[in-house]
């Protein structure tokens, strides 16, 4: 911890004369406590990986077959004759819902970010930012409830389909959930473009839109990509809304009106009914390991991309 002193400018701490002073000990004690606080975050993230892995290990060592796990669409953990643990249909469910959500969220949140960052100012800007923040605060179970009670009859009525709980429903809900975080990160990325770029573009006679399109968007490209990735991560890991709005039936979807089931929702729905330590229980933890690994990679890549902007 001595290296902390290297940070400049550092406080003038000539401790040789102060060893008997209680303030000196308080200072050291505080430094250790704060350090523990900082380290705890690493401990927690490792703890999550370790504990989820411990519980899932039995499955990975026993019933796990790579080709079945990733390429079989049959998820029948409670079958009397032969249990199968295939994730393909569940992955297709997660992918289709997340993909549809991004189709909704990416254009809208980038559009909103450009509008807030470049076309609005003062009170209007403040109002839009606050509203988007409130949108982000709505709990996922309320979104699920909205999918169930508002979107469901609406979809049945408009498209004349028998069931309104499907990819379309969950995709729109998830898109609205992911949009606020994408908007605010994208807006930060646009704001990070130096003003001299704008001034130079305007001096060349560019209109506002030409400036945005030709100068600002290319300059903010990495930050925007990071924003989209974080949105994908959010959609991928969402649980309650997806559980309630997808229809929760195992399916390899062929249209947006098909009901599907997501990886996260499967854990939420089935874990309560399994006995601790059973194959089914361990298989659900194995899905957890998979989810952890995928979101870890998404977040890592997003962070590297966004940080790349700040350095460049």
């Amino acid at each position: 911890m001595e290296q902390n002193q290297a940070q400049s400018p550092s406080p003038p701490l000539d401790t040789r004369f102060d060893r008997l002073n209680s303030d000196w000990y308080f200072d050291k004690l505080a430094q250790v406590l704060m350090f523990i606080g900082g380290i705890s975050v690493i401990v927690f993230i490792i703890g999550i990986f370790v504990f989820v892995s411990i519980e899932g290990f039995g499955f990975l060592a026993g019933k796990f077959e790579f080709s079945e796990f990733f390429f079989s669409p049959d998820w029948r953990p409670t079958s009397q004759t032969k249990e199968t643990y295939g994730l393909l249909a569940l992955m297709a469910g997660t992918a289709s819902v997340t993909g549809f959500a991004m189709l909704v969220a990416v254009p809208f949140s980038l559009g909103a970010a450009i509008y807030i960052a470049e076309f609005s100012s003062g009170k209007k800007r403040e109002f839009l930012k606050v509203t988007i923040e409130l949108l982000a605060a709505i709990p996922s179970v309320v979104w699920g409830f909205i999918g169930l009670t508002i979107m469901n009859p609406l979809i049945i009525q408009i498209f004349h389909v028998p069931v309104g709980l499907n990819i379309l429903n969950a995709g729109i809900i998830l898109g609205l959930m992911a949009a606020p975080i994408m908007t605010s990160i994208a807006e930060d990325a646009l704001k990070a473009v130096p003003d001299r770029y704008r001034e130079a573009a305007e001096a060349m006679g560019a209109t506002r839109w030409q400036m945005i399109y030709k100068v600002i968007l290319p300059a903010a490209k990495n930050g925007l990509l990071g924003a989209i990735l974080l949105g994908v991560g959010r959609g991928f890991g969402e649980t309650m809304a997806v559980l309630m709005a997808t229809g929760h039936s195992i399916n390899l979807p062929t249209s947006v009106f098909d009901s599907v089931r997501a990886l996260t929702a499967t854990i939420a729905a089935e874990l309560g009914e399994t006995a601790v330590g059973s194959d089914h229980y361990q298989a659900l933890f194995a899905i957890g390991i998979f989810l952890f690994a995928v979101t870890f990679v998404i977040n890592l890549v997003a962070d590297l991309i966004v940080r790349g902007v700040r350095k460049g």
């Binding site: 290296q3 505080a30 523990i36 949140s109 996922s140 179970v141 309650m240 952890f292």
Partner: protein, 289 residues
């Protein structure tokens, strides 16, 4: 002297079109908040009454109130805050005041980002594996609130770090030059100047904690309990889970009840959130540096 050429007019037209298009997209993002709120108030409003808020559910949850769920959510939030705020503030102080720019700090930052990005259901698995099974807390308020605490830790850390860093560096230098130790500087100068910002973060965390459902699903929340929890080792009902239960698991549910539960939950969350936003604006207006 200058008259608009056809190119000017075309550019102007494009400009207006783009402005309307982007404004419309923003409007479509803002609109759902208004629609959702008005539907919830319209359908859930009539259900809300003193009795609804302060009595226990009866007749298989189709009648009566939501008091145990409301109380459970409050208990979970309080326990989660007690666990996460000290860690969160310590971590933020370390990152803002002590941490050198080295690999360890980068790993801590990465861990914070990942802690915020891990799916809530994976946090639930962790809570089950660690607190319920390994530490033998059983499915209890303690296990559920610790799970929530770890999940929402990044919210406190990020907000606290931001408000600590907004205290000008000159304040620190002045204090050090008076002979104060690092801790004295933090305790007497930095924390008092950052406390409103930290409070903003804590309120945001309350809001996140109250709304989460997945992490408490297997760690301590129950669908229905006839008795109120007596200690932190008891299970509890929670508002968010109650909304899930009354809207999907109970047959013959009168239509208004789930809307009422949703309205109470969202009102709680939005009021806390608005409070945090108002505090931030007040802070920005008052700032002297």
């Amino acid at each position: 002297m200058f008259s608009a050429t056809s190119l000017n007019r075309k550019n102007d037209r494009n400009e207006t079109a783009v402005r309307w298009l982007l404004g419309g997209m923003t409007g479509l993002l803002v609109l759902p908040v208004v629609v959702i709120l008005s539907v919830l108030v319209y359908k859930g409003g009539p259900v809300i009454s003193f009795e609804f808020l302060f009595t226990t559910p009866t007749k298989g949850m189709t009648a009566g109130g939501i008091f145990p769920a409301l109380l459970g959510t409050v208990l979970l939030v309080i326990c989660a805050l007690l666990a996460s705020v000290p860690f969160g503030i310590a971590a933020a102080i370390y990152l803002s005041e002590y941490a050198p720019d080295n690999w360890l700090t980068r790993v801590i930052n990465l861990a914070i980002i990942n802690l915020a990005g891990v799916p809530s259901i994976v946090h639930a698995l962790f809570g089950l594996g660690a607190f319920v099974v390994f530490f033998r807390f059983g499915t209890s308020i303690l296990a559920a609130s610790l799970t929530l605490a770890i999940m929402t830790l990044p919210v406190v850390i990020v907000a606290t770090r931001e408000s600590l860093q907004s205290v000008p560096h000159a304040f620190r230098e002045a204090c050090w030059n008076m002979g104060a130790t690092r801790w004295q500087t933090i305790r007497r100068i930095i924390l008092p100047n950052a406390v409103t910002g930290i409070l903003t973060g804590v309120i945001l965390e309350v809001c996140r904690t109250a709304g989460e459902t997945a992490p408490i699903l297997f760690t301590g929340a129950a669908f229905f309990l006839p008795l109120l929890p007596q200690s932190v080792f008891d299970q509890t009902m929670a508002l968010s889970l109650h909304l899930f239960v009354v809207s999907t698991q109970v047959p013959n549910m009168p239509e208004g009840v789930p809307y009422g539960v949703a309205l109470v939950l969202i009102a709680m969350v939005l009021i806390m959130n608005s409070l945090s936003i108002a505090l931030r604006m007040y802070l920005r207006g008052r700032k002297k540096w």
